[in-house]
């Protein structure tokens, strides 16, 4: 978990929701189409071999086109991507250490397999994180839940996701208030140990429990009998089909033909 600051996370979350409320054609597309294409995209990215670098580059077209057509602010998306997965990067940084076989010579420069595979990990991270971020920013969390359910995810899980999404920041704010109370009375690190942490978390837990009981009461008061009824309209039409099939063909094509290599050969063939 890397929520650096509670406040920052809150703002970030609101920003994503705001972006998802946009009105472009991509926003209006049925969430299932966007979800499926994103999954297929991520599948394509991870299917490349360990040392794939240039072959993966053309796949950047997907996040770039989606972000531009969806009118997402490029700076914001870039910043989200820059957070990446620190774990993948740390583990990836070991590659140059353990895999020193030189695979490419660029003039006097020998590039080892480790550096190539590290670059590959970097590009994978950018592509997968970027695709997921754009999916959420174009669709919004509730619509993704809806799509998941329509694609066969058990309703109990999607209902959990809705509750989690609904109360996430209500509880983060509540935890923040408790936590601020503790910090204001702590001096340096004194008073911030487990001794004060456990009652604080315990309190938050008890309040959460009470809240869940009140929510349950509110559900019962409105005729809830254990079954969650939801109204789901479906609008997976021609546009969605075109979108899904179009991108899938593009991914398969890019996976087969190494576009930069072909382009490069044409370019260097002309200049030499």
């Amino acid at each position: 978990m890397k929520i650096a600051s509670i406040h920052g996370a809150l703002l970030d979350f609101r920003r994503m929701e705001l972006l998802a409320g946009g009105g472009t054609a991509l926003h209006r597309l049925d969430p299932r189409a966007k979800l499926l294409v994103t999954l297929f995209f991520i599948g394509t990215v991870v299917s490349y071999g360990k040392y794939a670098v240039t072959g993966m580059i053309p796949l950047v077209i997907f996040p770039v086109v989606m972000a531009s057509l969806g009118e997402l602010p490029p700076g914001y998306i870039a910043r989200k991507i820059a957070l990446l997965s620190p774990f993948a990067l740390v583990v990836g940084l070991f590659n140059p250490l353990f895999d020193r076989t030189v695979l490419i010579h660029l003039g006097p420069l020998g590039i080892s397999g480790g550096w190539i595979s590290f670059s590959s990990i970097l590009i994978r991270s950018i592509l997968t994180v970027g695709a997921a971020t754009i999916l959420v920013a174009l669709t919004g969390f509730p619509a993704i839940c809806r799509a998941l359910e329509q694609l066969g995810t058990p309703r109990l899980l999607t209902v959990q996701l809705s509750f989690l999404h609904r109360y996430l920041f209500v509880l983060i704010e509540e935890g923040g208030r408790l936590s601020r109370g503790r910090e204001l009375r702590a001096f340096g690190n004194r008073g911030l140990g487990i001794g004060s942490f456990a009652p604080l978390i315990g309190n938050l837990l008890l309040r959460t429990w009470g809240r869940a009981e009140r929510i349950h009461a509110a559900m019962l008061a409105r005729g809830f009998t254990g079954e969650f009824h939801l109204r789901r309209e479906s609008r997976f039409g021609g546009r969605e089909l075109l979108f899904t099939v179009g991108w899938s063909i593009a991914f398969v094509a890019l996976r087969f033909w190494n576009l930069p290599q072909l382009l490069g050969r044409v370019v260097t063939g002309i200049t030499s």
Partner: protein, 352 residues
């Protein structure tokens, strides 16, 4: 520790996704059958609690560094394994989508490492056995701390194995293991102590909340061993089948693509997972007509007469330059088209 998409191969990611998805389906049925409709809002709100709790830090005595609660074990104690597994899975889904923790393919692994392991391995085999039939403060404490330790050790082992089997990282298995396990021993100890403290506090205030954690469970109500065995067999079959396929045809997908593309360049794999991965890259992945062979002697597949060496070097330079130029050009094209699309569509949207 969150597993990441970038370190996963499709075979490993897909197999573990199958196990996690199966568990989600099973638990949903199970919780639904229990008919305790109080749990429906409770699970979701507790999942949100876990998130909120993770934003609050405590200082670890003697080190000056700070930590936070993981909470998977706490949730299992509060909700029972099935409901807790679903709640943890939903936390991980939100982390993957909103906070770019892990990723969509790695989600399967993360649900397994942080949800399946505490709920269906640690809880039934460690926690329940150690806690014993009658509630006893000392035994409860021991059970919780050991459960946290074992849970984090297994979770971290999961990450190591998933990474190693995927073969994207070059870290040797033993090195990686030595890096990960001791860190997680410390994390597990802290998690255990904090969980005991929180459980103690809640028990003082509202003991009925910890009904599931402290009650004498009737035997046979949670036929967990059955599920665990079933899912392991399923995982072995799926994973085994896939890797058998993979080892015969280095990488299933690569092989299929080579077949479809009519490439005749299929070579015998170099042996071992990394061997075949290394041997196959050049064929389809990086630069089609150029294979990243290890220098002669390292892999059998890479042996070539010395005379070709020089020529190969020249070719190597040529292809590398071509690759570089092509990459730059592609990027320029992609971002250029992105800009054009943006410009063209904005006025259209405004006018409509």
């Amino acid at each position: 520790m969150h597993m990441a998409d970038a370190l996963l191969s499709p075979v490993v990611g897909g197999t573990i996704w199958a196990v996690s998805a199966g568990s989600i389906a099973y638990c949903s049925k199970k919780v639904h059958r229990e008919l305790d409709d109080r749990k429906i809002p409770l699970m979701g709100v507790l999942a949100a609690f876990l998130f909120a709790a993770q934003t609050i830090n405590f200082t670890i005595p003697g080190t000056g560094s700070s930590g936070h609660l993981g909470g998977g074990l706490l949730l299992t104690l509060l909700l029972g394994p099935h409901a807790a597994f679903l709640a943890i899975a939903s936390v991980l889904v939100v982390q993957a989508l909103f906070f770019a923790d892990g990723g969509v393919l790695a989600l399967g692994c993360n649900i397994f490492n942080m949800g399946f392991i505490p709920a269906f391995i640690v809880y039934p085999f460690i926690y329940r056995n150690l806690r014993g039939k009658k509630l006893n403060q000392g035994r409860l404490t021991t059970a919780i701390i050991l459960s946290a330790l074992v849970g984090l050790q297994l979770g971290s082992l999961g990450v190591v194995l998933e990474t190693w089997f995927s073969g994207i990282s070059a870290l040797p298995f033993a090195t990686f293991l030595l890096l990960m396990q001791p860190i997680h021993l410390a994390i597990g100890a802290v998690e255990g102590i904090v969980t005991v403290a929180v459980v103690g506090f809640v028990y003082q205030a509202r003991p009925e909340i910890l009904r599931i954690a402290t009650e004498d469970l009737e035997p046979g109500r949670y036929p967990l061993r059955g599920i665990v065995v079933t899912f392991f067999v399923a995982a072995l079959l799926v994973g085994g089948g896939l890797s058998l396929f993979a080892s015969r045809n280095p990488d299933g997908l690569e092989w299929a693509i080579a077949r479809v593309a009519g490439s005749s360049e299929l070579k015998a794999p170099g042996g071992g997972i990394h061997g075949f991965l290394a041997a196959l890259q050049g064929r389809t992945a990086v630069m089609p007509d150029y294979s990243f062979r290890r220098p002669a002697g390292l892999t059998a597949a890479g042996l070539k007469p010395g005379g070709d060496r020089k020529k190969e070097e020249v070719e190597r330079l040529g292809t590398a330059a071509a690759g570089l130029a092509g990459t730059l050009l592609t990027l320029a094209l992609v971002f250029g088209s992105g800009l054009i699309l943006k410009r063209r569509y904005q006025p259209a949207e405004l006018s409509s």
